[in-house]
Structure formats: structure tokens, C-alpha cells
């Protein structure tokens, strides 16, 4: 639907590399859990990959890589119940960041922070529906930790973007 024309081998290689890197980021976060602060707290480094691809004008690739990452990570370290959380939050936050990126007035940090907040709020809504009302207690913690993580990831993706933006011009 998004790609009618065939991908060049260079594109396939770059997208495969980005997918592998984003799964690796997820694994690093799995090894260094931050969720003792509150359930669901994480750095979200894989979102940096999404941001770099999105802001270099490759939303389709960014979205597909994100969904593939979530499905493959679920096979490696998750359960069907946690896949429900990660997949819905991943899709909602991806679309939200895509809409925000339409305006050039919103910077890297703004898109990253808003995407992090959308991710956390989606997970809280799913938890509210499946587990119960007590999960709202964690909302302020998740918003504040998500803000800090979102700013860090936004800054990192800005650094990476500056270095590799020309990569996408020739493919």
C-alpha cells in the first residue's frame, strides 16, 4: 500500500539494519529494567530510530519497522498480554508523531516527548480496560519519567539525524 515500487537493495539493507538496531535497543532495555519506578517505565530508545526515519521523510518505513520490531521483540521476550500493550501503544504513538511532524514548527524534542506521552497514556488506557481503575495512580509518574526519557531520545535522534540525513538522499 505504501510501497508500490520495488525497494532498492540499498534501501532493504538500511531498513534491515535499522530493524536490527531497534530490536537490540529493546533488548538493552530488557536487560536494564527501569520499571521498578512504576510498571511500564522505559527509556524508549527504539523510538529514536523511528524519529530519524520519520523526520527524514520515510514514515512508511518507520511505521513498518516499528511494527516489525514490536512483533519480533514479543517473540523474544514478551507474552501475548504484553504484546497487546506494546503493539497498541506503538501504533498510536507512531501515528501521533507522524501527525505532529507535519508541522516544521515542532522540534525533535517536542515530537519525541509527545510520542512518549501518547505511548504511556495508551498503555494506561489498555491497563484501565483490562486490569482495573487502580492503574491511574501511576499516571503522574509515567508522564514525568516519559518526559525525561522523551527529551533524551529526542536529543539523541537529533544528533544521529545530523550525521546520517544524507543517507536517504541517494537511495
Amino acid at each position: 500500500m505504501i510501497y508500490m515500487k520495488a525497494l532498492s537493495s540499498k534501501k532493504i539493507t538500511i531498513y534491515a539494519l535499522f530493524t536490527a538496531a531497534s530490536i537490540l535497543f529493546g533488548y538493552v532495555e530488557y536487560l536494564l529494567p527501569l520499571n521498578f519506578i512504576a510498571p511500564g517505565v522505559k527509556l524508549g530508545m527504539a523510538n529514536g530510530i523511528f524519529l530519524v526515519l520519520l523526520l527524514s521523510g520515510n514514515f512508511g518505513a518507520a511505521f513498518i519497522i516499528n511494527v516489525v520490531r514490536i512483533l519480533l521483540s514479543a517473540l523474544l521476550f514478551a507474552t501475548p498480554f504484553s504484546l497487546l500493550f506494546s503493539l497498541s501503544a506503538g501504533i498510536v504513538s507512531s501515528l501521533f508523531m507522524w501527525v505532529l511532524s507535519k508541522s516544521k514548527r515542532v522540534g525533535f524534542i517536542g515530537i519525541s516527548v509527545a510520542g512518549g506521552a501518547a505511548h504511556n497514556i495508551t498503555q494506561l488506557l489498555i491497563a484501565r480496560l483490562t486490569v482495573g481503575g487502580g492503574v491511574w495512580f501511576y499516571t503522574p509518574f509515567l508522564l514525568v519519567t516519559g518526559l525525561i526519557a522523551g527529551m533524551a531520545v529526542g536529543f539523541l535522534s537529533w544528533l544521529v539525524f545530523g550525521r546520517i540525513k544524507n543517507l536517504f538522499k541517494k537511495i
Binding site: 517536542g110 482495573g132 508522564l143
Partner: protein, 112 residues
């Protein structure tokens, strides 16, 4: 126009997140001790206890078990077989609105 690292719109987004966190914090939190403990599993209330009466009860579902202890006006999950153990590391709760969530077992302990 080149996209900035941090723009005015970004600062507004950041302030918006901080403001909503504060509003939610002050509308939910209470410094008053509660007197009831409500246990819900999969969004259904399964048990209600008095916070002032000591108790040791285990809740088992097909997902696993959580051992709830109420003593000296506060409650905690002492042991559980979930893989993350977040419910145990949450520690003791006693204030109105506080909760212990065990996502893998879809269990919530809430103070009312």
C-alpha cells in the same frame, strides 16, 4: 525551514505534560490513611478487607499467585510468582488512592 532540536512549540508540549502530571497528581493523591483494601482481578472486585485488621491471604488465578499481607494499618504484596516482581517492590501502601498493580496477573490492590 529546518526543523529545530527544541522550538517554542516543544516547550509548550513539555509544559503541557508537566501541568497534566501535576493536575492528575493533586486530584488523585491524598495524605489521609484509608480504611478499606479492595482487590480487583481483571477489572472485577474479588475481595474487600478492613485495613485495620491484620490478614494474610493468597490470590491465585490461572496466571499465578500474589500473597497479600495487611498489618499495622498498611498492606503489601509479600510474595508472588510474576516474572517482574513489581508488585513486591512497590512495598507498603496505606493512603487513600494508593495502589499496587500486578500487570502479569491483572491484579490490583487499592486503598479506599
Amino acid at each position: 525551514m529546518k526543523r529545530k532540536l527544541l522550538s517554542l512549540a516543544d516547550i509548550l508540549i513539555i509544559l503541557g505534560v508537566i501541568l497534566s502530571a501535576f493536575i492528575i497528581f493533586f486530584s488523585f493523591y491524598s495524605s489521609n490513611n484509608g480504611n478499606r483494601v479492595v482487590v480487583t482481578i481483571e477489572n472485577k472486585t474479588v475481595a474487600e478487607f478492613d485495613l485495620n485488621i491484620d490478614l494474610n491471604r493468597t490470590f491465585s488465578t490461572e496466571d499465578g499467585f500474589n500473597n497479600l499481607i495487611i498489618e499495622n494499618g498498611s498492606c503489601k504484596v509479600e510474595t508472588a510468582d510474576c516474572k517482574d516482581g513489581i508488585c513486591i517492590s512497590r512495598g507498603k501502601i496505606s493512603k487513600i488512592g494508593e495502589s499496587i498493580v500486578c500487570l502479569p496477573h491483572k491484579l490490583i490492590v487499592e486503598i479506599k
